[in-house]
Symmetry: C2
Subunit: 334 residues, 2 copies
């Protein structure tokens, strides 16, 4: 997995190693509960790892804005943990909704613990995230994160409504990925500016960085589902295809396809009638219409906008790392 | 359904008719979303009705504490709506977890809209409840309601862990119903005292009223599953039995039963091996061991404690109505 994106993220995590260690401790501590199944399932999630990209964004944004925690009060760390809890709750529920059995190459929580436990522990983590916000005590932070949580749920419902529907417009698809992914990236960055008491302009710059990074990230993720190698990326290629999920590669190949191609897409996506060999044919149509390239063009524009959103900040190692993260998000597939 | 409990609740709702009307408006307004499926599913939930017991408790507690809203700012109404959102979110997720198809005698949301929509709209309502708290702006209220939300999830997970397990102690069962039901009743009442700026003593009294009322309410609900008439109560009798849910009627009949009876309970509850006629036999064993009577004895003690918790408040029509609600909760089965 040592593609460009991973290297940029690793550099960022290394630069913020102390903050990340504190954040990981906070995550483990606050996942605890006297109800044994909760820490059990939580331990599975922690072991499964993940890049912790969203809490990293909160930590980096706070530091970029010059936030100086005192020894007893590390607001950026608690809020980074809070952001990860919101993300983990949505992952748990997503896997139930999508009936996924694999997450980052390992069995997903619902596959091991069952759908019921995943729904309920997701609820617990979501509630716990609000306790963390309450402990932080800033109404502004609460407003940002509670709005983001509502937007995520709206994005997920919208995605469900567009499932199997090839008449979905690109605008609606972009609205879906804004809701399900970019909104939390934006909020994660924005609260960094808030804890550092920065003016609205800095908040908005980081919000824009997060939004655009999130859009790029999800576009690349959607491209990977038709391009990734399962063994190296820990992602089952063709998941989106099997679920009839409407993503830009599919919309592009469908729109640019011949009448026969469009009939194929209607059968496999709209009517969910899939036979052996269909995924291979879909990959062929996607290659023929340059759908991955077009998806990455979109992603590149968002990544560039993310980079530019940081223009107002003076040059620094951290700014560079955040900009690298944006450009490498796309380069992992170029 | 015009049993004593319903009459007491109807009287309370009539006494607070203006507040309840404002609360119902707030619920409909704040369930809105540009994502069409959300208001669609919300409309189903609103149409399905329900007693709105929890928001009623917030409104009544605030008024009992002398809260006077001004024309533009009705904190008790917004928080009552918030409490109903938390409750509705947990109902949506419960029905998914329990695979229920009936709720209050009507098809449940998951039966009509599917499990996916129920999980995601539940998440939306949960996030929206936190937006309502943030709008209210009291950290104290947020602390109370976010803790209650975490406790509910813990109670639900604990309930899942005890499912099919006849060695569950009565203490553990009481812990489950405290989490899944009483914690939100307590929080709903407590925030009423907080918006009215009452001293800690009043907060604690209302918290105790809510806790004890919630315990009584859930004990009676668990008794009804082995005693109710489906046509009049809109509840499928034997639901808990079929799910292997561990409730006090079952624990009582199991503990007091003969060796043969215990073998029966182990087969139907622990091994989930149920045949036609088993529910009837279970009802017979429950009758023979007076398990409903014993469950109601527990409920009666909680209802009395709820009534006594209000001792510190001077006599008033509202206090009487709240005490009637407590005693009638149990009398509906006596």
């Amino acid at each position: 997995m040592a593609d460009g994106s991973e290297v940029a993220l690793r550099d960022l995590a290394e630069y913020l190693a102390d903050d990340m260690a504190a954040c990981n401790r906070a995550i483990v501590e606050r996942m605890d509960s006297p109800v044994a199944l909760i820490p059990q399932l939580a331990a599975h999630l922690v072991a499964a790892g993940g890049k912790r990209l969203r809490p990293l964004l909160t930590l980096a944004s706070a530091r970029l804005c010059g936030y100086k925690p005192d020894a007893t009060h590390q607001r950026h760390v608690a809020l980074a943990a809070c952001v990860e809890f919101i993300h983990t709750a949505t992952l748990l529920h997503d896997d139930v909704v999508d009936e996924s059995t694999l997450r980052r190459g390992l069995a997903s929580a619902n596959a091991i613990f069952g759908n019921k436990a995943s729904v309920l522990v997701g609820d617990f983590l979501f509630a716990r995230s609000f306790q963390l916000m309450t402990d932080d005590g800033s109404l502004k932070v609460m407003g940002i994160l509670s709005s983001a949580s509502a937007t995520i749920a709206e994005g997920e419902v919208l995605q469900m409504s567009t499932q199997n529907d090839l008449s979905t417009s690109i605008e609606k698809y972009l609205e879906v990925i804004h809701g399900k992914t970019a909104a939390l990236f934006a909020a994660a960055c924005r609260v960094g500016a808030v804890v550092a008491d920065q003016p609205l302009k800095a908040e908005e710059a980081l919000d824009s960085y997060g939004t655009n990074l999130g859009m790029a990230f999800q576009l690349v993720d959607d491209a990977l589902d038709y391009a990734a190698d399962q063994a190296t990326l820990g992602k089952t290629i063709g998941d989106d295809f099997r679920e009839g999920k409407i993503t830009l590669p599919v919309l592009t190949a469908y729109t640019a396809g011949s009448e026969e191609d469009r009939a194929f897409w209607r059968r496999v996506i709209e009517e969910s009638e899939q036979k052996p060999g269909d995924l291979e044919h879909a990959l062929e149509l996607i290659a023929r219409t340059n759908a991955i390239g077009i998806t990455l063009d979109h992603a590149t524009r968002y990544a560039e906008a993310a980079s530019q959103a940081l223009d107002m900040f003076p040059p620094s190692r951290l700014k560079q790392l955040l900009q690298d993260t944006a450009s490498y998000t796309v380069s992992r597939l170029r």
